[in-house]
Symmetry: C2
Subunit: 141 residues, 2 copies
Amino acid sequence: MTTADDTVKDEAAIRALVDAFVKAIRAKDVEGVMFAFAPDVVSFDLGPPLRHGREDFRGRWQALFEGHGPPLDYDVSDLNIAVGGDVAFSHSLNRTSATPERWVRWTACYRRIDGWWRIVHEHVSAPVDVRAGTAVLDLVP
Amino acid sequence: MTTADDTVKDEAAIRALVDAFVKAIRAKDVEGVMFAFAPDVVSFDLGPPLRHGREDFRGRWQALFEGHGPPLDYDVSDLNIAVGGDVAFSHSLNRTSATPERWVRWTACYRRIDGWWRIVHEHVSAPVDVRAGTAVLDLVP
């Protein structure tokens, strides 16, 4: 049975996973980034396509890191975590060091697999102006 | 303790909630739509702002329904649900009847509150082309 203590521990474990993920992004450490994700991750990413899986996941992170000259800054703010049994989700607003800085919305969904929390689904986005057909990239919380 | 039977039942309950939500959208039934959401829902919606809560939630649905002349068509496809205890999440690709039809990514996160599953967080988006500053609204699965 899941107790309040378990929930506190699980939330702490997920927060630690997110912290390690952020440190890996800052260090441009592809292996560290991949460690956060389950093999069958389904990603709704900031850019096209609508959906992608692990097959092109590593390459996208590699390209992102190689295409970015200066050290990457990355922050996760207002991280809100919910845990139930072996399933969890979080949502947050994440800031990148792009010039100008850019904020994106991040929803991450987790499963505990062989005792380890992993992201099995993530959703990263910026709002869009549907009528104008534009991305709204200059919003700040 | 959560059993496999419980998980099957919970997944069915969440699928029924999503079905009711879709029927409410098609019927332009604001109360039916609101029924799916928890009072403290945090929404990352297709349009700005970055994040909004229940205070402007009902008005946005009302405006959407009133601004749309013909009957609304709406489909949720590839709905994937994970449940653990009193927490769950789903992801899907949703089609609207806009002309041309438009596909969006939808992640919904649920909590069981007083025995009823409710959406406490949702994330709706289209991919964006960051360099061009455009929304990519013509993608199909």
